[in-house]
């Protein structure tokens, strides 16, 4: 019955790992011919399904067994929840009569995942199963998307029941608002027309709702500069003259200055995370704020909003575009160009002494790959440098754990990304620390011949931790060295993937070219300088225009 539901939902691929409580389901799966990717750790399955969902826009599906199988999903679920990624997670549970008795491999996974799912269910009766599954898919993918978990006891898998499947459910307590309020849209139009120093600040919601074209039209028609949160990179072309870069802690100088001095911020599908706003009291002090979001709870959560518009970003922007008239932003754009000069002075130059720096590696990957290449990252310095130095031009080409900051996300997510978009090159920019958190998925990549390229940024450190220790903890590197790293080339080869190593710009170029010319998974161990810091930087809980430039860099 579960398989039939997956077919109804047009699921073409599931990620999972079998075990006692889901044996019956696996048997059905096996006989159905539905494609299943066997991962090597359940966390890998969620991240892969998450990468698949972020790239395709479809709902990712994961299967895991009860107890440890289910608890291994937790980090991945929390990651997807924070970044609003649609997933349906099917977990096995011990048989109904055993629930609550601490029986073998029992874990209360609905209790555990209550705060990190959009919604979850424990099936107690076969009769509930079809409606619950269709509700799960509907809730996961509509409104503000998110992960939904359905816990199914072993005995229910074994029962037969009437399969009466309705594709969409009418759920009394769940009615997302899609259309924006007309009066509010008019107020926004007026504010845009009157603004002298407007900035568009867009977040992941723009990508989720498919509103990149509308965003671009608004920016270009009204001559408004655009800054994108980490989650939104790619939603606006990174090489456009109106693009300011990413704001916040490691944001571009001109983006932070622009937000700080703006008189109007058009915030679309963004949630004012503390990594962006810095010290809240000093954030955008002079600006009126329009906030467009499908989730009413995001509006006014962190900053006070002048013009709230609840609705789907795409629909609301279309409403605004019907009426909007450009204001006079000439002087403001000039001012921004002056700041931009400053930004470029800190851009990465060719490294000296024939060594590799991470920004250089990232720029080289950018130069050698096509604009539709999908980049997945882990979490740390390499992630921030990727956001700063890779020029993203298209939506859904950058996937990274933004909200939760999950190390080990990148590689399994890249596998899912490639499966979602087999025609695109997929490059994972991994940290040497992070990569080891899901290194076992090399086996998944090799057995399914999933053609991803991984550049391991090997700085021998938990680099981001080391940077904070250097800047804020008197240079005491408490357990942030990764001494004992394996030989990544040999690791790749041991799994049957191709392993390459680069420690000079010349070697790097050759390695990237060879990787791109090779079919199948390739690991490039990029040996970069060890102690380099990510700048610009705003110290935590400081105003975002108090920027440390790090010109004292070694």
């Amino acid at each position: 019955m579960v398989i039939a539901a997956l077919e109804q939902e047009q699921v073409d691929l599931v990620f999972g790992y079998p075990g006692g409580a889901v044996l019956t389901l696996y048997d059905e799966l096996y006989r159905s011919g539905l494609k299943h990717i066997l991962v090597r750790h359940e966390q890998g399955a969620v991240h892969a399904a998450d990468g698949y969902a972020r790239v395709s826009g479809k709902t990712g599906v994961v299967i895991a067994t009860s107890g440890p199988g289910a608890t291994n999903l937790v980090t991945g679920i929390a990651t997807a929840y924070m970044d609003s990624v649609p997933l349906v997670l099917l977990t096995g549970q011990v048989a109904t009569p055993l629930i609550g008795t601490d029986s073998f491999q029992e874990a209360d996974i609905t209790g555990i995942t209550l705060p990190i799912t959009k919604h979850n269910y424990l099936i107690k009766d076969i009769k509930e199963l079809p409606d619950t599954l269709s509700e799960a898919f509907y809730i996961a993918s509509s409104g503000r998307p998110g992960p939904v978990l359905v816990d199914i006891p072993k005995d229910i898998f074994e029962m037969e029941g009437r399969f009466d499947y309705k594709l969409k459910q009418d759920i009394p307590g769940y009615k997302p608002t899609v259309e924006g309020h007309g009066g509010q849209i008019n107020r926004a139009v007026k504010a845009i027309r009157e603004a002298k120093r407007p900035v568009i600040f867009a977040g992941g919601g723009v990508i989720i709702s498919g509103a990149a074209a509308e965003l671009q039209e608004l920016a270009e028609r009204c001559r408004i500069p655009v800054t994108l949160s980490l989650m939104a990179l790619g939603a606006y072309p990174g090489d456009s003259p109106l693009f300011l870069g990413m704001p916040g802690m490691h944001g571009a100088v001109c983006a932070n200055y622009a937000l700080s001095e703006a008189d109007l911020i058009i915030a679309t599908g963004v949630r004012f995370d503390d990594r962006v706003t810095g010290k809240l009291e000093s954030f955008a002090r002079e600006a009126k704020i329009i906030h467009i979001d499908i989730d009413p709870a995001e509006i006014g959560k962190n900053v006070a909003i002048d013009i709230p518009i609840v609705g789907d970003v795409k629909r609301v922007l279309q409403g605004i575009l019907k009426k909007v008239q450009p204001g006079d932003t000439g002087a403001w754009l000039k001012r921004i160009d002056e700041w931009r000069e400053e930004c470029f002075t800190c851009a990465e130059e060719q490294p000296e002494n024939d060594v590799l720096t991470t920004p250089y590696v990232i720029r080289e990957i950018d130069r050698l790959t096509a604009p539709d290449t999908i980049i997945a990252t882990d979490v740390g310095q390499h992630q921030m440098w990727t956001a700063q130095h890779y020029c993203f031009r298209l939506p859904r080409t950058f996937i990274s754990s933004g909200g939760l900051g999950t190390m080990g996300y990148g590689f399994p997510a890249a596998l899912g990304a490639k499966l979602a978009s087999p025609g695109s090159t997929v490059f994972c920019i991994a940290g040497d620390g992070s990569f080891q958190m899901n290194i076992q998925e090399l086996a998944t990549a090799v057995t399914h011949n999933i053609d991803v390229k991984v550049a391991i940024i090997n700085n021998g450190y938990l680099g981001m931790v080391r940077q904070w220790q250097e800047l804020f903890y008197g240079g005491r590197y408490a357990y942030s060295s990764l001494q004992g790293n394996p030989d990544f080339v040999k690791v790749a080869e041991a799994y049957g993937a191709k392993g390459l190593r680069a420690s000079t710009p010349g070697e790097l170029r050759k390695a990237i070219e060879l990787a791109l010319a090779t079919k199948g998974p390739v690991i490039i161990d990029c040996q970069v300088v060890a102690e380099e810091n990510v700048y610009p930087m705003v110290a935590p809980n400081r105003p975002i225009n108090e920027i440390i430039m790090g010109s004292e860099r070694k």
């Binding site: 209550l114 705060p115 009394p172 307590g173 769940y174």
Partner: protein
């Protein structure tokens, strides 16, 4: 400031955990919570008293509304509403004090619902002020145990809080 919220929920297993969990996770202060059936089958009504300024209560309401099993959330503090709570008090009562206590109970339109040689159980309903007042008076005789239901509320007049 205290706010009284009426929350209509689908009567599904775990719904109370979802609501309570939300409060602790987001650091909202819940003062009390009551749950009971409504006239519609499958729908329960929670009355939740929360402490916080307008911003906080707005967040509480929006977050509650996001829960799939929550159908409607309304703040009754901004409108005329009848608010009641029931309290049971076991008070020390010897022969000499019994009639004094009885008089207090009558003044507050309470009821004596159980008597033993040295104690009585008193039942009172009312709003916060009234319950606090009688509690204060009875403390004088010695309260041995006390139980309260938490607040219930309905809008005054013909207006109702309904599912849709």
């Amino acid at each position: 400031m205290k706010h009284v919220l009426a929350v209509l929920v689908e009567n599904k297993s775990g719904v109370l955990t979802r609501v309570a969990g939300l409060f602790s996770r987001r650091g909202f202060n819940i003062e009390n919570i009551t749950v009971g059936e409504t006239t519609s089958p499958g729908i329960s009504r929670m009355t939740i008293t929360v402490e916080g300024d307008e911003m906080v209560v707005e967040q509480v309401m929006k977050q509650l509304h996001k829960l799939v099993n929550v159908i409607k959330v309304s703040n009754l503090s901004h409108e005329p509403a009848v608010m009641r709570e029931l309290m049971l008090i076991k008070v020390r009562a010897e022969a000499q004090t019994r009639s004094d206590i009885q008089q207090i109970v009558e003044t507050f339109r309470g009821k004596v619902v159980d008597v033993s040689l040295d104690s009585m159980i008193i039942e009172v309903t009312g709003n916060d002020e009234k319950l606090e007042a009688i509690k204060l008076l009875l403390q004088h005789y010695g309260i041995r145990e006390l139980a309260r239901t938490g607040k219930l509320a309905l809008l005054r007049g013909s207006k109702v809080t309904r599912e849709a």
